[in-house]
């Protein structure tokens, strides 16, 4: 189809930006432009993509929040999709098929413990809503304990479980039976957990919230509390699943088997949406699902294509033991980042993470945006989170090689150099409380950077810089 361009002229790009502004969001275009994140992804391969305008190779450290564990444009996954396409469409959600059966078998083979029951969902948010419904339906209880800073999605129940105001406040009132406790604080859970609690829901490693790792002790204690009161333990492994943290599932670090586990993102191979809710085959959950098989119907979750792709993803991850690579490369990246932190203590406050799910926390909120900008100039796409703007997530495809990790580290070092050029200006300003607040205000940052970017474009600076890099 000639419609889709692999390389874009300035004129093409302007047209696309104007259409995007017109129909999707002007604010989004502005935000992306201001931070030099106005890439247009054309070719996608391995750990990155080509920016269609400047023909630069960009390393993808966001990966749609962890969707591309098997690498982008993975030929084995594409082949599985094409094979399925010859004979199938998405299929009927009410009927079994060979693709579905095969995928279910493969999921059951890798499931932690007895977490082998399977319900399909269309995407992450839908799957979280399904998990919450399953817990409430099976226990007959309402109260859910969720974590502060948690991020579970944007649909009705998943949004209600989000532990930060940022994504919620414009849409209140949400479903009220959620209680929030600080992540990692077992005493806080003990104080409010009881016979009225349906579930405790958490990400074993908080992603969007700023990469906080739940330690083994904490997760084990949660399991004990859940056992004590018959509470369903729900692990949201949407971002951590399929090898990201150095184990196939993050729960396997602690050995804690959740009652309900939610998977999405990487299960899609980055090419065909799908999501899964897995549950322990205990009498309580089994019976509930059996006698309420229509409690959560998804039209497109568990489609024939989705299942064929999902099977190929599992095969690829298992065959190449990708979690081991994530652990190994994660350790190298972590070491490198710690060295960089040591050299730049006024910029980097802390490095956290597990496997290839790593967060860099800067010393000031405004630095997240500055660093995203500087990294983009040097060829890395990484973003700070809306929940926690001073934390930047690095979640590169876990197929990454050591050489590529070294390249990443070199770029990060360069980017810090670039950012330092801004600091003489922003540092003193940030010492004045009112200005510090202004600097940290994302809307003001965007407005200021958008003007800077506009001037750069007029003067031809952007183009000159990028062609140098290329």
């Amino acid at each position: 189809m000639a419609l889709w361009n692999d390389t874009l002229s300035s004129k093409n790009k302007k047209y696309i930006m104007s259409l995007f502004s017109k129909h999707i969001s002007k604010g989004q275009t502005k935000t992306m432009r201001a931070a030099h994140l106005d890439f247009i992804e054309t070719r996608r391969k391995g750990i990155g993509f080509i920016d269609g305008l400047f023909r630069r190779h960009i390393i993808d450290c966001f990966t749609s929040a962890g969707c591309f564990n098997v690498g982008r444009g993975n030929p084995e996954i594409i082949k599985a999709l094409c094979t399925a396409l010859q004979k199938y469409d998405m299929g009927t959600n009410l009927l079994p098929s060979n693709n579905k059966k095969q995928f279910i078998k493969k999921l059951q083979a890798i499931a932690p413990g007895d977490c082998k029951g399977i319900i399909f969902a269309s995407g992450g948010g839908d799957a979280i809503d399904c998990a919450i419904k399953l817990a409430r339906g099976a226990t007959g209880r309402k109260k859910i304990i969720a974590m502060k800073k948690a991020y579970h999605g944007h649909t009705g129940y998943s949004l209600s479980a989000n532990g930060k105001d940022y994504y919620r406040h414009l849409f209140e009132p949400l479903e009220p039976n959620f209680a929030f406790v600080p992540f990692g604080d077992i005493e806080a859970v003990k104080q409010i957990a009881g016979m009225d609690t349906a579930a405790i829901i958490l990400e074993p490693v908080q992603g969007e919230g700023g990469i906080f790792v739940g330690d083994d002790y904490y997760l084990k204690r949660l399991r004990t509390v859940c056992n004590q009161f018959g509470i369903m333990l729900i692990f949201d492994e949407i971002q951590t699943g399929f090898g990201r943290t150095g184990k196939l599932f993050a729960s396997q670090h602690s050995g804690v088997v959740p009652d309900i586990m939610v998977l999405a993102k990487s299960i899609s191979g980055g090419i065909f949406p799908n999501a899964v809710v897995m549950y322990r085959t205990t009498p309580l959950l089994n019976n509930y699902v059996k006698s309420n098989h229509d409690f959560h119907q998804s039209i497109t979750g568990g489609s024939d294509h989705g299942c064929a792709v999902g099977s190929a993803v599992i095969d690829y991850v298992v065959k190449n033991r990708l979690w081991e690579n994530a652990a190994k490369m994660g350790a190298i990246l972590m070491d490198g980042l710690l060295t960089i932190q040591h050299e730049n203590p006024t910029i980097i406050k802390e490095i956290r993470g597990k496997g290839l799910m790593i967060g860099v926390e800067y010393t000031h909120e405004y630095m997240g945006a500055l660093m995203a900008d500087s990294l983009a100039r040097h060829g890395i796409f990484a973003i700070y989170s809306g929940n926690q703007p001073q934390v930047m997530r690095f979640m590169v495809p876990i197929t990454i090689s050591e050489q590529e990790v070294q390249k990443m580290l070199t770029i990060i070092q360069k980017a810090i150099g670039t950012m330092k050029l801004y600091l003489p200006l922003t540092k003193p300003l940030s010492k004045i409380p009112i200005l510090s607040r202004l600097l940290d205000d994302i809307h003001i940052q965007i407005a200021v950077f958008d003007i800077v970017r506009y001037c750069e474009d007029i003067l031809g600076i952007t183009k000159r810089n990028y062609s140098k890099e290329a």
Binding site: M1, D89, S97, E175, T300
Partner: protein, 385 residues
């Protein structure tokens, strides 16, 4: 959903046109169409080929980034919709698209109250369940500030919709509720009270849109236009999962002002957009609403005849275009009808709200010949119920 029918030994293979086959080679006329997703028929070859071909060139992309795929598809979609729309948000499924519509209405108006209609069905996610008929919201959790009014009740509209109302949410035809309809006056007044109070009118066309009722969208039957329109999986023609929330320029201000406040990882999937762009071109070329209108009339005539012959078994027949509802005496009868139809090579299930009703929603490209087969099977089994 009908437990008996899912317990039948049907392993789906080789979908094609108006049919699919089971692993033993038995043919079924698909009257379920993935809950109204296969409007262009099963396994649309052109789109399958495109998906395979483009999978090598594109993928999902990073959902926060500006993309040519999202931009061009959004632009094409707003011109496809026969109402002055400007903004688009892509989701992966219908529930998510409806949840977003509710959030958009609350966010834009700064008001909390959502007014829904009794007997409605919108999906399985939090907001959708809270707005839908049935017990699920009691078990799974109710989003607060939702008021339900009776379908077709003009007085209730005038009383309940106020300056505190963010949106009135409705279907044009309640498909899962035996294709229940309301008068033109009801929708016209709804539009008027929304205009007068500043509440937004949200129309869910996940079941009725993309040609199903004999028009591109069912709201065209009544000469009204929504502020927010929810389009379901039929958009992806059964090849790619996608749904969309489409809205006016006025409402879009919220999205300009609050970028990235609602996200969908798989919504607006770049590879999917490439396929769906072509699906829209196919819709424009085939104009399946024309066949849906003509063959729909034919189907309705035949079903009404059947109703006259079996007035005891069939309580009523409703529908429009190629969605028809046969209400039988009770749930059990609907369940048995579904199983017996499957034996006759017709795959149809009961509705979600009116569980005593069999829904027929075949591919919009279906022939009169196939409709004859459906009606023949129906008349054969009806005696034995």
């Amino acid at each position: 959903m009908s437990s008996q029918i899912t317990a039948l030994p049907i392993i789906e293979t080789n979908p094609e046109g108006a049919y699919f086959y089971d692993s033993k080679g038995k043919r079924y006329i698909d009257c379920y169409s993935g809950a109204g997703m296969f409007n262009l028929g099963r396994h649309v070859k052109e789109l399958s080929n495109t998906l395979c071909e483009q999978a090598d060139k594109s993928d999902q992309g990073n959902f926060v980034l500006i993309s040519q795929e999202k931009a061009l598809l959004a632009s094409k979609l707003v011109s496809f919709v026969p109402a002055p729309m400007m903004g688009v948000f892509f989701s992966v499924g219908r529930g998510e698209a409806m949840d977003f519509a509710c959030k958009l209405a609350r966010g834009f108006t700064g008001r909390a109250q959502l007014i829904t209609i009794d007997g409605a069905y919108y999906g399985e996610t939090g907001f959708s369940i809270s707005l839908s008929d049935g017990d699920k919201k009691k078990i799974f959790g109710q989003i607060p500030q939702i008021t339900t009014i009776p379908f077709g009740n003009i007085q209730a509209l005038e009383e309940k919709v106020t300056r505190n109302t963010a949106a009135v949410i409705t279907e044009i035809i309640q498909v899962e509720n035996a294709c229940r309809k309301a008068s033109e006056g009801f929708f016209k007044i709804m539009r008027q009270v929304c205009n007068a109070t500043g509440a937004l009118m949200v129309i869910d066309e996940t079941q009725t849109g993309m040609g199903r009722t004999g028009k591109k969208f069912a709201f065209e039957h009544y000469g009204i236009q929504p502020d927010i329109l929810v389009i379901g999986e039929a958009l992806g023609a059964g090849i790619f999962p996608i749904a969309a929330t489409v809205f006016t320029k006025k409402v879009q201000k919220f999205m300009h002002k609050n970028p990235l406040i609602h996200l969908s990882t798989f919504g607006g999937h770049d590879l999917g957009c490439r396929v769906v762009y072509e699906a829209l071109e196919l819709y424009e070329k085939i104009k399946p609403w024309e066949n849906a209108y003509a063959v729909g009339q034919y189907l309705m005539d035949k079903l009404l005849t059947l109703h006259r012959i079996y007035p005891d078994a069939i309580i009523s027949v409703n529908g429009q275009g190629l969605v028809a509802a046969l209400t039988l005496k009770n749930d059990d009868m609907a369940n048995r009808a579904s199983v017996k139809l499957a034996r006759e090579g017709i795959f149809a299930v009961h509705a979600k709200v009116a569980t005593d009703t069999i829904l027929l929603r075949p591919a919009l490209t279906i022939s009169k010949h196939d409709v004859d087969d459906i009606v023949r099977a129906m008349s054969k089994i009806i005696n034995s119920l």
